[in-house]
C-alpha cells in the first residue's frame, strides 16, 4: 500500500485527468477574460481573481487538441506550482478522489494525444476507470513555449 493521494478529477476532450489537491488553489466558473496580445494562442488572457491578476491558458490548446467554445460545465482550475500561478480552462471539474500512489503506472508514449512528458502517470481506479495524472511542472514549462513560438515564426 503506497501513499494516499487526494486528486481533483477533471474532464478534457473525453478523458479523465487528475491534479493533486495541494497544487490546486481554487476552481472557478468561467469569467470574463482579458486578452493579452502577443502571446501564444493557447494563452487566453488574464482574469481578476479577487484582486489578483492571473493568466489563464486553455489546456486543450496547450496540448494541441482542438479548442472548443466554453460550455456551462467549463471551469477554470487555478493551480500553483513553485511560484507560478496559472488558471487552466477545462471541460468540467467534478470530483475529488483518493488514489493509492502505488497504482499510478508510468505513462505510455501518448495518451489521448498528449505527449508523455506532460504526464506523471496513469492511475487505475477501482471501477476500472483510467485517470491521467498531469505533470504540472512540464505543462507550465516556459522554455518550451518560447521554443514553440520560435518554430511558429
Amino acid at each position: 500500500m503506497g501513499e494516499e493521494l487526494k486528486v481533483i478529477v477533471f474532464a478534457l476532450a473525453g478523458e479523465q485527468y487528475g491534479i493533486e489537491v495541494d497544487k490546486v488553489r481554487t476552481i472557478e466558473r468561467m469569467m470574463p477574460i482579458t486578452r493579452v496580445p502577443k502571446t501564444p494562442a493557447f494563452v487566453k488572457g488574464v482574469i481578476n481573481l479577487r484582486g489578483v491578476v492571473i493568466p489563464v491558458i486553455d489546456l486543450r490548446g496547450r496540448f494541441g487538441l482542438p479548442e472548443t467554445e466554453a460550455t456551462d460545465t467549463s471551469r477554470i482550475i487555478i493551480v500553483q506550482v513553485n511560484d507560478l500561478e496559472v488558471g487552466f480552462i477545462v471541460d468540467a471539474a467534478n470530483d475529488v478522489i483518493d488514489i493509492d500512489s502505488d497504482r499510478i503506472d508510468s505513462p505510455p508514449e501518448v495518451v489521448g494525444g498528449i505527449k508523455a512528458k506532460y504526464l506523471r502517470g496513469v492511475a487505475r481506479l477501482d471501477d476500472d476507470r483510467l485517470l491521467i495524472m498531469l505533470n504540472l511542472v512540464e505543462v507550465l514549462n516556459k522554455e518550451e513555449i518560447i521554443q514553440l513560438e520560435q518554430f511558429e515564426v
Partner: protein, 678 residues
Amino acid sequence: MDMNAYLSMFIDESNDHLQALNENLLRLENSPDDLTIVQDIFRSAHTLKGMSATMGFEDLAHLTHEMENVLDLVRNGKLSMDSFIFDTLFKGLDALESMVKDIVGGGTGKLDVTELVGQLKKIVSGEHTAGAEAAASAAPQAQPSGEAVLDQYQYSVLQQSIGTGHRVYRTIVTIRKDCVLKSARAYMVFNVLEQAGEVVKSQPSVQDIEQEKFDNSFTVFLISQWTADDLKKQIAGISEIEAVEVTELDAEALNALSRPSQPSEPERKADKPQAAGPAGQAGQGEKRPPAAGGAVAKTIRVDIERLDVLMNLFSELLIDRVRLEQLASEIRSAELTETVEHMSRISADLQNIVLKLRMVPVETVFNRFPRMVRDLAKSLNKKVDLVITGAETELDRTVIDEIGDPLVHLLRNSVDHGIEPADKRLEAGKPETGTVHLRAFHSGNNVFIEIEDDGGGIRRDKVLATAVKRGIITEEQGKAMTDEEVYMLIFAPGFSTAEQVSDISGRGVGLDVVRSKINSLGGSVTVRSELGKGTVFSIQLPLTLSIISAMLLKLGSEKYAIPLSSIMETTIIKRSQIHNIHGNAMIEFRGAIIPVVSLAELVDSPDYDDKREEECEAIIIRKGDKWAAVLVDDFIGQSDIVLKPLGKYLSGYSVISGATILGDGQVALIIDPNAMIR
C-alpha cells in the same frame, strides 16, 4: 525570555549604529580635530557594545570594547588621530559589519578578532608609533572614573562661558525610586535644561540616561542665564522628581573639577577655546545639537510586510471607489453622489499617506557610497571627493531596494574609468583631486539621480572602435551616429571600454545590466559627456511603482491604459495628414516629423482598425527626446490605477508592462510606452 524576539531589533539598531559609525569616521577623517564627532562615534560604539553584550555576541562586544577604548583616549584628547588609527578603526568596522551580517544570516556572529584587538590595544598603549610616549603614559588614566569630572574640552567651554558672563551650574537631579519611566522623566528634565541654556556634560552620558542605564540621579553641567532658583523651580515642577540640587560654579570650582592638566596640554588648551570661544553660546548650540531632545525621534519601526498588506488593501479600496463613482454617475442620486465624492476626497488623502509611508529617502542607499568611494580611490591610488546632494529625496521602497546595485556600478565606473590618475589630472591642468557628484532631485512625477565626474570624458573614437570590434555596429552605422547615440553604445551588452580589465569595473557584464535593471524599474538612463571635462550619467525613475495616473482608452471592445507620465497631449489626426516616408507612417506635429503608431496593430486588436477611420483620436507620447503619435479608438478618461503584475507566467511579453483592475472588475492591460517608440 526568548532572545529571538529581540534579534530583529538588535539587527536593525546595529545596522543603524554601524552606519553612523561609518559616516562619522569619514567625517572625522576630513576634520580630525573636531571632538564633537568623536563624541558621536564614541556613543554609537558604546551602545553597540552594550547591545551585543546583552545579546551574547561576545566577539562583537569584545571588538567594540577595544575600539571604544581607543575612541575614549581620542575624545579625552589623549591621543590624536592618524591614518594608522583610521585604517584600524575602519578595519574594525568591516569586521563588525561582517559579524552582524553573519547574525542576520542566522549565524552566531563569531569571528577571529584577535589580530584587530591586538592592533587596537597597541594603539591604546601607544606602541603603534614611536613618538607617542605621551599617549602611552596617559593611557592608564583614561579609564572613566565614577566622579562627574570634566575633560579638558568641557572645562574650557565652561571657563569661557564664565568669562563671557554666563552662569555655570552643576545640577544634580534625583528621580523618585518608584518612577516607572525614569528615562521619560529625565527627558523632561533635559527639555527644561535646554530651554534654560546649554548642556555641556551629563553624567551618566545622555545616551545611557535615555536607555535608563542610571540609578536614580544624574548630574548635568549647564551654561545658562537663569538664576539658580528659577532653574530649581522649573525642574522641581516636573512630577516624580525627588530632589534637585543646583550649584553655581565659579572658575575655581571648575578648576577643582577638571583634571590636573598634563604637560602636553597647555598647547591644546590654547587652541581649543579659540575654536569654541568666538562662536559663543549660540554657535555652540548649532555645533552640539541638544543631545537629549534631538536623539529621541518620534518614530516607530514597522515591518515592511505590513505596509505591503496596507497597500494591497488600499488598492482594493481604490477599485471599489472607482466602481462607486461609476454607479453614482449612473444612478444620479444627489445624496449618493455627495457621499461618494466625499469618500473620493478622503481616499485621495489616504492614498497620499499610504504612498508616503512607502517612501524612503535615498540616503539609505547613498550612505554607503562615501566609504565605498574612499576605499575604491585608495585601492586605485587616485584622489576622489564624493559630493552628495539631495540625499533627502524620497523614492518608493521597491525602487530603493533595487537601485543600489546599478548605482554602485555607475559610481565604480566613474571612479575607475572616469577620474584620471593624479599625474594625468595635473598635466591637464585640473586639480589633483577628482570630484564625483551624486545628486538626487525631484522633477514632476520623476526622480532623477545623476552621477557626474570631472574626469576625462568618453572618447567617441574609442567607443566606436570597440563597438565595431565587438560587432555591435558596423563602421558605416558608426559614422552616421550622433555623439549621444555613440555614448549610449556603452550600455550595449558585452561592451567594456577599459583597456585593462580591472577588478573594479571591467568585468564586461557592465553597463547593460545597469540599463536593464533601471528599465525594469520603469526608468531610463542617459549619458552626457564632454571630452576632457567629464561625464554625467542621468537616471530617471518613477516616483512610485504601485499607483500611477493613467489615461484609459478604448480600442473596439477592449480597454487599455497608458501611463500619464509618458503622454504629452491628446489630439485628433486626419487620415490625410499621415504621410508615408520610406514606408513609415509619419505626421507633421508642431514643426517636427514624428512617427505614427497604430495601437490596434501593436496589440493585434480583433475588432478595431484605425485604417477604416477618416479621423483618429491620437495621443502624443514622449520618451526622452523621441516623440510618437499613437492612434487609438476613443478616450475613456484619466484615472489613478493600481499596478498589478501580469503574473510570472506571462512575463517577458514586451508590449504590456502590467495590468490593472477597473471599476467593473475587468482587467485592463497597461501598454508599455517604450514598446511604441523605437
